[in-house]
Symmetry: C2
Subunit: 352 residues, 2 copies
């Protein structure tokens, strides 16, 4: 399948993302920054303070802390809620980032036991949450990335929030793609976050920064998270390469999420018209969806590679094999608008 | 003492460092980098691979891994050696970075028990090491920063190495300032590192990069450290802002360490000529020394602030109070050469 990745890399435009992850992304963000702007220093200084305050306001929380990664931020959030409630059990979706992408950091570093809620192919339900035993914290991911970016309704969120409050369960938001979810809810970030005790957001997904995350919540929670950030070795002398680029790309793209989502809806509809091709969700609720092809990975990969070569449009660099079909992810960003209508028509013609 | 820091910040040149920690440091490092150079991605890609291989070679180790911080790298190193030996005790100097600057991360995240070796005001001795109980790993810091950058002789290092090998104790090098130590030993980095099982080096001290660290050792050790890096949330999608600046400033300054040290020796001698002022070590062995003033912190701080205002030369922005005296640190870098002989003469005249 190297050919699939190779042909993808050689395409001039791609269905997904904001363009290639290249050094230019950093250089653009710093073009207008003065050379004598001071660095942050171990979590102190105007650069980091201003961005943390801005994000606390955006998310409607008392306080916010910049972290190099969401992995670090979220493990720490769960640890703090466990310590506060003197429990060591949390609950999350079976395809939660902590469960499948972090080499069991939560278990290895904190001996916290996660309960996996519901089925991995769909969102967890209120009933499943109500059936949980006594836990410190429930983590909800909005949107649920590994199933194509599905979202519960706002009413469902409110019901989950009320249940958790009643039971004394802390509710944490994995908002890696929170900004991407706002068009669906037609709400401000702070209105969603008001339902959660703590929130993490990422700056290199829909926002398209270089790396970095914000963890927000009550002041005491954030203060404790800074102690853990130091313990983890995340309290770097300088985080400004990530902070300033996060801020730059946040400003550039925060208001484009509805546009990305509309393109995703239109694009998914065209894929769903093809034989043996379908998306989940069928109608995307954010800028992303999963794209499935009936058939063997080798054969589908070869077909996509050929289409990428012939159209110059990157569809994907990888396929994951499942029962009789294979899948990939599409996530709309700035590059999509660089694809001409003709290129797209050609792409779909070749799929037929 | 705000006045001390304020006047320090307003100076045009400083005794210590490579200039102010400003955004220009990043921009300079990337000036010659092409916009279309690809990012590293979760520890993969040419950018990170090349730098890791280069550093493995420089340090004479089989393998090397780039980390966002030394805090993360060293806790992980000790954890791996503990797991391998099935012990949970390590040993280090009472003023080791892990003991005083990491909010007890090693204990909180790994339940590893450190034994503090020797007296905090001097280097540990071979006899003290020989008296240690059965431990997984001994950490040596070269130079010992918190006592002014002292170094054991190479013969002492060899004796410690032999003892540890005989006893099955892993020897880890905290080489945050390893490059700064090489002029004293008149050896290559690899010759020092050959005495250690694993090594950490930093890129924002004498090298003057933005942040970041290398952990080097046997291949299996490094492979396991990558799993822990993922667990810690240190396996960022992009570390290139740190990697490329580390490489840039490493090339710029690696051969200047002897020059920095010679300046430190000359400068310390001048301070030692003053009444009620002395340095530790009396004759620096690296580019750094601690600078002590007989008297109260307020009074000395006021005096230094005045001298900083009058000469435009930054001596320090802080003082630490001890018994009847107060102290600060001087660490020579590129800025020192920008101070004119006249400025320096004036500075010492004003101290008299």
């Amino acid at each position: 399948m190297e050919r699939l990745l190779d042909t993808y890399r050689q395409t001039a435009v791609q269905l997904s993302g904001h363009g290639k992850r290249e050094i230019g992304v950093l250089k653009r963000a710093f073009e207008q920054v003065r050379d004598d702007e001071p660095s942050d220093q171990y979590g102190q200084g105007e650069t980091i303070r201003q961005f943390e305050e801005k994000m606390a306001q955006v998310l409607g929380k008392e306080s916010a802390v910049f972290f190099p990664s969401g992995t670090m931020a979220q493990q720490i959030a769960l640890r703090i809620w466990c310590d506060e409630t003197e429990k060591n059990t949390v609950a999350y979706h079976p395809l939660c980032h902590l469960e499948i992408h972090e080499q069991d950091g939560l278990k290895e570093l904190h001996q916290i036991e996660p309960i996996l809620v519901g089925d991995e192919n769909r969102l967890m339900t209120l009933e499943e949450i109500q059936a949980l035993p006594d836990i410190a914290c429930l983590l909800l991911e909005l949107p649920q990335r590994e199933i194509g970016g599905e979202l519960p309704t706002f009413e469902e969120l409110v019901a989950i929030h009320e249940h958790c409050r009643e039971k004394g369960i802390h509710l944490h938001l994995d908002g890696a793609r929170l900004f991407e979810s706002l068009p669906y809810y037609e709400k401000e970030a702070s209105e969603i976050c008001a339902l959660f005790d703590s929130v993490y957001v990422s700056f290199y997904k829909g926002i398209g920064g270089i790396a970095g995350a914000i963890l927000a919540g009550p002041k005491a929670f954030c203060d404790t998270s800074k102690v853990w950030k130091r313990r983890y070795g995340g309290d770097l002398i300088s985080l400004y390469p990530y902070i300033m680029s996060a801020d730059y790309y946040y400003e550039l793209r925060k208001d484009k999420m509805a546009e990305y989502r509309n393109e995703a809806v239109r694009l998914a509809a065209r894929f769903n018209e093809l034989d043996g091709v379908w998306t989940t969700p069928r109608i995307p609720v954010t800028n992303m969806f999963h794209l499935h092809f009936q058939g063997e990975k080798e054969e589908i990969g070869e077909k996509i590679a050929r289409i990428q070569e012939e159209t110059g449009v990157g569809i994907t660099g990888y396929l994951v094999e499942k029962d009789g079909h294979c899948s990939t992810e599409v996530s709309i960003g700035d590059t999509f608008e660089r694809i001409t209508r003709e290129q797209l028509d050609r792409l779909f013609r070749q799929f037929r």
